[in-house]
């Protein structure tokens, strides 16, 4: 039951004591005195089957008084989803992994019997007043995936019900806002954020406090705040997770900023491809409005701030702030020249401050725990942590939060558990705007400047681990393909420079590369970087430039020897080093593999043995997952 469901006459939160009563309510909800089964229902969990598990628990435990079933967000170890945490009344909990429908049935049974198994366990946690774990399970902090992490921004993810305001408050939520409103002048809040060294988490790394000071210093009849939730980098899903798991934190950050800068209206621009995030945000906004934490008199302070959601429509370029504002204004999403910058003239020509979801989510704790505390985490130039989505040729895939300054290799080997087979080659950061941190620089501490020095960038947090089975030319081809699709078309260097670059890369990976290609790539890269109107075009060449710097020999192997050393791209097997084979004697021709294949590489008559065309196969493995008899052999 959420706080909203229990809504009675006047639930307006007017002062600290109102917050405190919500806090009590939340604590009761978090630790209800009976066993609580928390099912991770973020997109990652749901994709793995958590919805079914949730239903099973609800059914099986409906009549069990000593147990309640709840939902939560993402615990970060997306690889192991569905994750279900069973919290006992004494505060000890066990997080189970891979809890599909069948596993859920058995687990529900165990919960009903009060006899928790110690298998299929990811980790144990200690909540509330528990000090020691009586079960034989590794503690959260001991699990390698979590050991090097410091979950500040993700502290509530996987713990609270994302739709429960009371639970959010019980974890300290909105006390930061209260403190800002009652104990600080607006200017002091800005100073605190400046002192914290919080820098833009969308990738720009601009000091957030400075950005706020520009807006605060502008006198205007109307000022706006924007939350950039357009998260377009392929493979990045940090913001999605935050919005799905802890939406109130993002909104509280914006509320604090509205007080600090004088903005009275905010917009969250969410990409339409995040329906669950939108749903959770809508619910959060409705809830906050109903209790007076959004509206004309926030927390009884007399200060006004309201929030509206604007959905994107499938355009990566609308993550660029001026294109985003154009889209909010119902114009075609094309960037505009800067200056003027948004704090001077932004949304509808009014002063505007735009920050990324993760940036906003950091703010409440800076106020609550202090700027110094935040600045102490991280490096001298960058306070706090960064959330990364770690994917690729890595054992532990998921959402990772580490202090800035953590070396790349810590993330890859300790948190990530190392590569899935081959030798570590490098890490791609920054998505289509970024580059590769090669193995020889794996000891580089992760920070805005250090990554730029290597020819990459922080970006929004996408981190793709690559081993020797990844072709670097194909990597840059992939990102350029993306940019060609996503270019808005306003300026020639981007809309056509990306296409020309892609053409050359396609030629190289097809065995049609020519000796002049490398120079041509460099020349196009220089033009795009210098002359493109916005960051999309300016940084589109980065993957090429970066891979050329560290892996030029791979390019030449493609061009001169018509070979892919990684055995990956068109010139290689195209299957990322893997071969898939259907065991002919066992195949009954059910056609499930062919249906699952995204590139139509499997042929076969109904009820006749099927076969995979190795030329067409891209090595995604969908066929193997779909095969009910499990007779598709994977090698490599």
């Amino acid at each position: 039951m959420t706080a909203l469901a229990e809504l009675v006459e006047d639930r307006t939160v007017r002062d600290r004591s109102d917050l405190e009563s919500l806090e009590r309510e939340g604590l009761d909800s978090l630790y209800p005195g009976v066993t609580k089964v928390l099912v991770g229902l973020s997109s990652c969990g749901r994709a793995a089957g958590a919805d079914d598990a949730y239903e099973v628990f609800q059914q099986e435990l409906a009549d069990v008084d000593e147990a309640v079933v709840g939902r939560t967000g993402c615990l970060g170890f997306c690889d192991r989803e569905p994750l279900v945490e069973v919290v006992e009344p004494n505060g000890e909990s066990i997080v189970y992994e891979g809890v599909t429908e069948d596993v859920a049935r058995k687990l529900a049974d165990a919960v009903a019997r009060g006899d928790l198994p110690e298998t299929g366990v990811l980790a144990g946690r200690l909540h509330h007043e528990a000090r020691q774990h009586s079960h034989d399970v590794p503690l959260f902090e001991e699990v390698p995936f979590y050991a090097a992490q410091e979950r500040i921004v993700l502290r509530n993810s996987g713990l609270i019900d994302p739709e429960s305001l009371a639970e959010y408050v019980a974890r300290g939520g909105f006390f930061g806002l209260h403190e800002a409103l009652t104990e600080y002048e607006p200017g002091e809040v800005v100073e605190a954020v400046q002192a914290s060294n919080l820098r833009g988490r969308g990738g720009g790394g601009f000091p957030t406090g400075d950005k706020w000071s520009f807006l605060a210093g502008n006198d205007a009849d109307q000022k706006y705040l924007i939350c950039n939730a357009d998260e377009g980098d392929p493979g990045a899903y940090m913001d999605r997770t935050l919005l799905e798991s802890d939406p109130f934190a993002v909104i509280e950050g914006m509320l604090i900023a509205s007080y600090a800068t004088g903005a009275t209206q905010g917009y969250v621009y969410v990409r339409a491809e995040y329906p669950l995030a939108i749903e959770r945000l809508e619910h959060a906004i409705d809830t906050l409005r109903s209790v007076g934490l959004l509206g004309t008199d926030v927390l009884g302070s007399g200060h006004a701030f309201d929030l509206e959601i604007k959905k994107g429509a499938g355009a990566f370029v609308c993550g660029e702030e001026t294109a985003l504002m154009a889209s909010v204004e119902s114009e075609r999403g094309m960037p505009r020249p800067r200056p003027p910058y948004p704090p001077q003239s932004g949304l509808w020509a009014k002063p505007t401050n735009i920050n990324n979801v993760e940036t906003w989510a950091n703010v409440p704790q800076i106020v609550r725990k202090g700027a110094d505390w935040f600045a102490d985490v991280g490096t001298e130039n960058s306070g706090g942590t960064k959330v990364f989505s770690v994917t690729g040729d890595v054992r532990n895939t998921g959402l990772v939060e580490v202090p800035l300054g953590t070396p790349v290799e810590t993330v890859v080997f300790e948190v990530g558990g190392g590569t899935t087979g081959g030798e570590f080659k490098g890490v791609q950061t920054g998505g289509p705007s970024g580059g590769v941190v090669p193995e020889e620089h794996a000891d580089t501490p992760i920070d805005y400047e250090t990554l730029v020095e290597l020819g990459s960038m922080m970006g929004s947090g996408g981190m793709i681990v690559m081993d020797e089975s990844t072709c670097m030319v194909d990597q840059s081809r992939f990102f350029l393909d993306f940019c060609v699709d996503e270019s808005c078309g306003k300026c020639p260097p981007c809309r056509y420079g990306t296409k020309q670059t892609l053409q050359i890369l396609e030629g190289i990976t097809n065995g049609e590369g020519e000796a002049g290609d490398i120079d041509a790539l460099q020349s196009l890269a220089d033009t795009m970087a210098d002359t493109s109107l916005c960051g999309l075009g300016q940084t589109a060449p980065n993957p090429v430039v970066s891979t050329l710097e560290y892996f030029e020999e791979e390019y030449w192997a493609h061009i001169e020897d018509e070979e892919c050393p990684a055995g990956d791209c068109e010139l290689g097997s195209g299957t990322h080093g893997k071969t898939y084979k259907i065991l002919q004697e066992e195949c009954v021709g059910c056609h499930q593999c062919a249906k699952a294949c995204p590139v139509d590489a499997i042929a076969g008559e109904h009820q006749e043995p099927h076969s995979i065309d190795p030329e067409a196969c891209i090595g995604c493995g969908q066929c193997a997952e779909a095969c009910p008899l499990d007779i598709i052999e994977v090698r490599g």
Partner: protein, 634 residues
């Protein structure tokens, strides 16, 4: 008149001093580097910037190096004190060359076959950059060619997506027909929801054609008929309506090739379909010789003699002249006809005279002056907070004025469209009132509403008006009277409403020179009353409904003398036909709706027997004298 430049409100002193390529340049606060450079003749390369349009920094050609550290587009960057700008460097030209090469490879630029060759800004830029080829493999995209429109061809093979056509259609014409569709390299230009131009909301004004830097948009009737450099260009004034737009007419080998809006003019180079295109192609047969009914073509002197005899013998003469003629010709006409005691009329002048009379009277009653009640000209609409348009057919009759009204509405003005039939401004109006024949009722109610307040109203039709009056009261209001407003009561109420709300009335007489009041004292009639013995009709090149106005007089008279440019039912039925000049042969002055004088300049030498319309009239005025030598072409 109006300036349509979108440059930053540059009103002040040249307070800023900065450098471009080592040369000191002055600028006003807020001006861009490009504007300041342009003023002193420094030619920063551009493709997507155009005088009068918002600058968007899309083509990247105008990138300049600022203070040695960053590249900015000169068109969007304000000049600052002490700024050091580098424009003409090898490094920058390197970048420009790559961009041009990309532009070339991206589409299908076959200069050999393109009508814009020689008049193409992309080609000029290539030459300036020292390029004659692109090193990139050509894309050969599949682009569409739209030839559906009568006057405009859209060949997207040549489009560089600069967006000038779109911004022109949005910001200058305010018709919002063109827009971008698709993304990235698939970006293209479409009309409405991607329909052929002829099926779209396009009003075929051709402003986009003039804005297009390449051959993507061109005038079908002018294609391949001569590059601008090969033509002679004459500036004259359009006489199709009372806006008096400046025309730049290109001729080549004695033919009119193209008509464009004045490039440096104050109208922002905007013309309508009639002025830009229809004037090019009058398909009617030319009256190239004088003729007498039943006798065929005759020498001019013979015809003149016959005409003056008929006029002299007549008991009564009724004379009507087209209001599209220059003042000098109309004066000569009036004098010539006065010699025969004729009843003289010029259609359209009645309205003007009536209005003048009403304005004086209302002004007197309200304790102000008539000129205070009148708008200075159509541009008054552009700055208005509220516009009430009586007779929205100005969308057809005065397209440029209609564009101003639409622009005002876009800029936030409250727009009320009142019309006998439907409001032609459609959804662009905040309030639409279809008044039926009783348009006068609407104006009257508006006045009543202002005087008595909302409570006095019982009529349903008042509803929309409740929005009108506050809009007029709160800010600067302009009441536009289209050519169809002909009843005195509406005019009286319009002036009264203007006076009471500190607004002005913009009067749009139908035709070009109807506003020449005071210059033609005798011509306060729109038409001749009685059935005269002899009718003298100076039809000039009038056609359609304009010509139809003269037919009743012609039918009622026993003898009809016509001085006309083109053959028609009138000339075929007339007793004597005298040749007249066409618009491109006329000289003189016309007074437009702003009460400003426009010059008519001869574009092509007349080839017929008449060198000046006035000479014919002067010859008739002095029947005793031998025809002037000027009358007969040497």
């Amino acid at each position: 008149m109006i300036t349509m430049s979108k440059t930053t409100d540059a009103d002040g002193e040249f307070e800023i001093e900065f450098e471009i390529d080592g040369r000191t340049v002055e600028a006003r606060p807020g001006e861009t580097i490009l504007e300041a450079a342009d003023r002193v003749g420094i030619d920063i390369p551009t493709l997507c910037a155009l005088e009068g349009l918002t600058n968007v920094g899309a083509c990247r050609m105008c990138l300049v190096e600022v203070d040695g550290e960053r590249l900015e587009t000169a068109c969007t960057t304000a000049a600052e004190e002490g700024m050091s700008v580098a424009m003409d460097t090898e490094a920058l030209w390197d970048r420009r060359r790559t961009i041009l090469e990309l532009l070339f490879a991206e589409e299908n630029h076959y200069c050999m076959y393109c009508e814009a060759e020689g008049d193409c800004e992309l080609e000029d830029m290539f030459n300036r950059a020292g390029l004659d080829a692109s090193r990139f493999p050509l894309e050969y995209p599949d682009r569409s060619v739209d030839t559906s429109s009568e006057w405009i061809t859209m060949d997207l093979d040549r489009c560089i997506n600069c967006g000038r056509c779109i911004r022109t259609c949005e910001e200058v014409v305010a018709n919002d027909t063109l827009s971008f569709a698709g993304r990235g390299k698939e970006t293209t230009i479409v009309a409405d929801d991607d329909v052929p131009l002829a099926d779209s909301s396009c009003i075929e004004c051709g402003a986009c054609v003039q804005a297009c830097p390449t051959g993507a948009l061109y005038g079908s009737a002018s294609a391949y008929r001569g590059r601008t450099a090969e033509c002679e260009t004459v500036e004259t004034t359009c006489t199709e309506c009372s806006m008096g737009c400046a025309l730049e007419v290109d001729t080549n080998s004695g033919r009119i090739v193209r008509i464009e809006g004045a490039r440096d003019g104050e109208d922002g180079a905007q013309l309508c379909e009639r002025g830009r295109f229809e004037l090019l192609a009058d398909g009617r047969e030319r009256v190239d010789a004088a003729s007498i009914h039943g006798e065929g073509a005759v020498d001019l002197e013979v015809a003149l003699e016959r005409a003056s005899e008929a006029l002299a013998d007549a008991d009564s003469v009724g004379a009507v002249a087209s209001d599209r003629l220059p003042t000098e010709t109309l004066v000569a006409f009036a004098e010539a006809m006065a010699a025969y005691d004729a009843e003289v009329a010029v259609p359209g002048t009645e309205r003007v005279a009536t209005e003048a009379r009403i304005a004086e009277r209302v002004a007197g009653e309200l304790g102000t002056t008539a000129s205070a009640l009148r708008a200075d000209g159509p541009e008054a609409v552009l700055g208005a907070d509220a516009v009430v348009a009586f007779d929205t057919t100005i969308v057809d009759t005065h397209p440029i004025a209609a564009a101003y009204v639409r622009r005002a509405a876009k800029d936030g003005a409250t727009l009320v469209g009142v019309d006998e039939d439907e409001d032609r401004f459609g959804s662009k109006s905040d309030v639409s009132i279809a008044s039926g024949p009783a348009m006068r009722g609407v104006a009257a109610r508006a006045v009543q509403l202002f005087e008595d307040g909302a409570e006095a109203f019982t009529d349903d039709r008042a509803g929309p008006l409740l929005q009108v009056v506050p809009a007029l009261e709160d800010g600067t209001g302009v009441i536009v009277l289209g050519p169809g407003v002909d009843d005195e009561e509406t005019i009286i109420d319009a002036y009264a409403l203007a006076g009471m709300t500190d607004g002005v009335v913009l009067s749009l007489p139908d035709r070009a020179n109807a506003a020449a009041d005071g210059l033609i004292d005798t011509t306060v009639a729109d038409t001749v009353d009685a059935a005269p013995d002899v009718a003298y009709l100076l039809a000039a090149d009038d056609e359609g409904t304009d010509l139809d106005r003269l037919l009743p007089v012609a039918r009622a008279a026993d003898t009809v003398i016509v001085q006309a440019t083109r053959e028609s039912t009138l000339t075929r039925a007339a007793d004597v036909v005298l040749p007249a000049l066409d618009w491109f042969e006329r000289e003189g002055t016309v007074t437009d709706a702003s009460r400003a004088e426009g010059e008519l300049t001869r574009v092509l030498e007349p080839r017929g027997p008449v060198d000046e319309d006035r000479a014919v009239l002067d010859a008739l005025a002095d029947p005793g004298e031998a025809p002037d030598e000027e009358v007969i072409e040497a």
